[in-house]
């Protein structure tokens, strides 16, 4: 069994309460960080840990923290990204719902490291009940002196609150999130300036994913060097994987990075194999935005090496034969799945979620949905597959935010690996025109 650092106590009764959480070692990182460490020393440990952002992009957290501007007399903010709307991803919800104090503890320790005196957790509106759970836990933390003025008598003060969104995938993009938190439409900002220089209310801001912030707790406790020994190569530590689709045991699993994909899918400790004794056809390994891979390429790289659950191994081969770890939204499809129909659900999703600011994304996502729809309905034209390919190519790299790329990649990979399924849906009588 691999190492667990985040949700090892998820089955402990009452772990959502401060009392039980503390009995299991909770809030020790706040004691250690605020009483015995300087903010710079914490940033240094996070750098040494090799921790990479768990929200999808995998950017090194310590480096991101060290970019934070620190002008005299200007407030700095830490904002937790709990928008979690990438299809296939539900790990942050699990962590916040089961062990809310794990996030709150991480927020306190991280805010101290960054010099933030006010921090926010921005959570998707649909998770309203999870926001209630977090709010109750935050009240407990205030009452126990872990939040508010002069925390544990150290002179450090922090206010933390939860902000709910209202249904918009794009608000997971960090600058759209900040716009939304300022009470505006969730339109991504043009970068630069990056949030580290001008973020919330124009002040220096760090935006991190829920799981990233929770991981700061074990890093502070064990030290960055020890954390870096867990995992494989530059993929250090553990990762929460949301497993869904045609598997026997859907759910959230904490894995040590480097676990073989095959073991993750077939071991009873994790997904437990494909449901109904069927065979696997394909996997989306890191949330809807990452390329879909057929069975032979998800289990082994093009070089024939076993594929591992790590940033490097999942992307081995580039987009021609690889994919990405992304948000850890791992969706498995059985042999009976229609890949074009599945793609159509993604096309519909991205069209619905495009904020509409850039025309390649706004027009392209709508057009791809329309073309994919007529293909799956059985009245596609002979030229439609090439048309889909062409549209996604024109979106990729030509937009303000990465949602455009995220909408394009699933299309490109589905056609690349499953072109025959699209061709089979085009009526034989359809003439090219």
């Amino acid at each position: 069994m691999g190492k667990k650092l985040l949700i090892q106590n998820d089955k402990v009764g009452g772990i959502h309460t401060l009392e039980v959480y503390k009995q299991h070692g909770g809030y020790a990182s706040v004691e250690k960080a605020l009483k015995t460490m300087t903010p710079e020393a914490i940033v240094e440990e996070v750098k040494k840990s090799g921790l990479r952002g768990r929200g999808g992009a995998g950017f090194p957290t310590g480096m991101k923290w060290s970019f934070l501007a620190k002008p005299e007399g200007v407030a700095r903010y830490l904002v937790c990204n709990a928008d979690e709307s990438e299809p296939g991803t539900f790990k942050d919800r699990y962590l916040m719902e089961k062990i809310p104090h794990a996030l709150i503890e991480g927020m306190i320790t991280s805010s101290f490291a960054l010099g933030a005196k006010t921090s926010y957790i921005y959570i998707r509106g649909e998770y309203f009940y999870v926001a209630r759970i977090l709010e109750t836990a935050i009240e407990e933390a205030y009452a126990a002196g872990y939040l508010g003025k002069n925390i544990l008598g150290t002179g450090y003060s922090l206010d933390l609150s939860v902000q709910v969104g209202a249904g918009a995938y794009i608000c997971g993009e960090e600058t759209a999130l900040l716009e939304s938190l300022e009470g505006k439409r969730g339109n991504p900002r043009i970068k630069p300036p990056f949030p580290a220089i001008a973020g919330l209310y124009g002040c220096p801001t760090v935006v991190n994913n829920v799981e990233t912030i929770a991981a700061v707790v074990p890093i502070v406790m064990m030290g960055g060097d020890e954390y870096a020994k867990i995992g494989i190569g530059k993929s250090t530590g553990t990762k929460l994987i949301s497993a869904s689709g045609h598997i026997n045991n859907p759910g959230v699993y904490e894995i040590e990075l480097g676990l073989p994909v095959e073991e993750f899918i077939y071991s009873n400790e994790y997904c437990g194999g494909i449901w109904k004794n069927k065979k696997m056809k394909a996997v989306v390994a890191g949330g809807s935005s990452v390329p879909i891979l057929p069975t032979e390429l998800i289990l082994k790289t093009a070089k024939g090496e076993p594929r591992l659950m790590s940033y490097e191994s999942l992307s081995d081969g580039g987009f021609a034969t690889g994919s990405m770890l992304g948000s850890g939204g791992f969706i498995v499809y059985d042999e009976d799945t229609s890949i074009p129909m599945n793609l159509y659900t993604f096309n519909r999703f991205y069209h619905h979620e495009s904020c509409g600011q850039c025309s390649p994304c706004r027009e392209g996502t709508g057009w791809m949905e329309k073309v994919a729809h007529r293909i799956v309905e059985g009245h596609g034209k002979a030229t439609d597959i090439d048309l889909l390919w062409d549209i996604q190519k024109r979106i990729e790299g030509n937009t303000i935010c990465p949602l455009g790329d995220a909408a394009a990649w699933p299309v490109a990979s589905a056609i690349r690996h499953f072109r025959h399924e699209f061709e089979a849906l085009i009526p034989k009588t359809a003439v090219a025109h």
């Binding site: 969104g165 009470g183 045609h246």
Partner: protein, 181 residues
Amino acid sequence: MSTSTNIKFSDASMAEIQKIISRYPEGKHKSALIPILHIAQAEFDGWLSAETMDLVAATLKIQPVEVYEVASFYSMFHLAPVGNCVFDVCRTSSCWARGADDIIAHIGKKLGIKPGETTSDGMFTLKAVECLGSCGSAPMLQCGASYHENLTPEKVDALIESYRAAGKRRSYTDRDYKNTL
């Protein structure tokens, strides 16, 4: 600038709104807009009429147009009347792969409506929505603050009956959520 409206927030809502505004730095009270719109939608019949949005604008001392442009951006805000119980059924990949289309069809048949429609008694609205972060317990639907997961036609029938029997309006802000996982 402030518009006169004939409706007002309850005292309890006003207290909550003040508490929310206090979370932001001086002068940044507009940050409270989305949380207040949720409260307003729950308090005034489950949707945001022009009158309700004007009240929100007056409460926050911002222009009504600032409220309209935000309300129209987010999918959880209803800009037209809806039923007491809005069934948001997820239709994205993981739910689709485990039978979401059948669940949507089953609800539609049972209630005699299509996605986007409301029953004539005003009790139910059916919506097909995008991923709700419940992919591992698919298929699923959200009603108010509650997540109903691992749905089967039988579970859906029981849900409809219990919501109908309770006869209450359900809101995303409800504190008496009941999750079925």
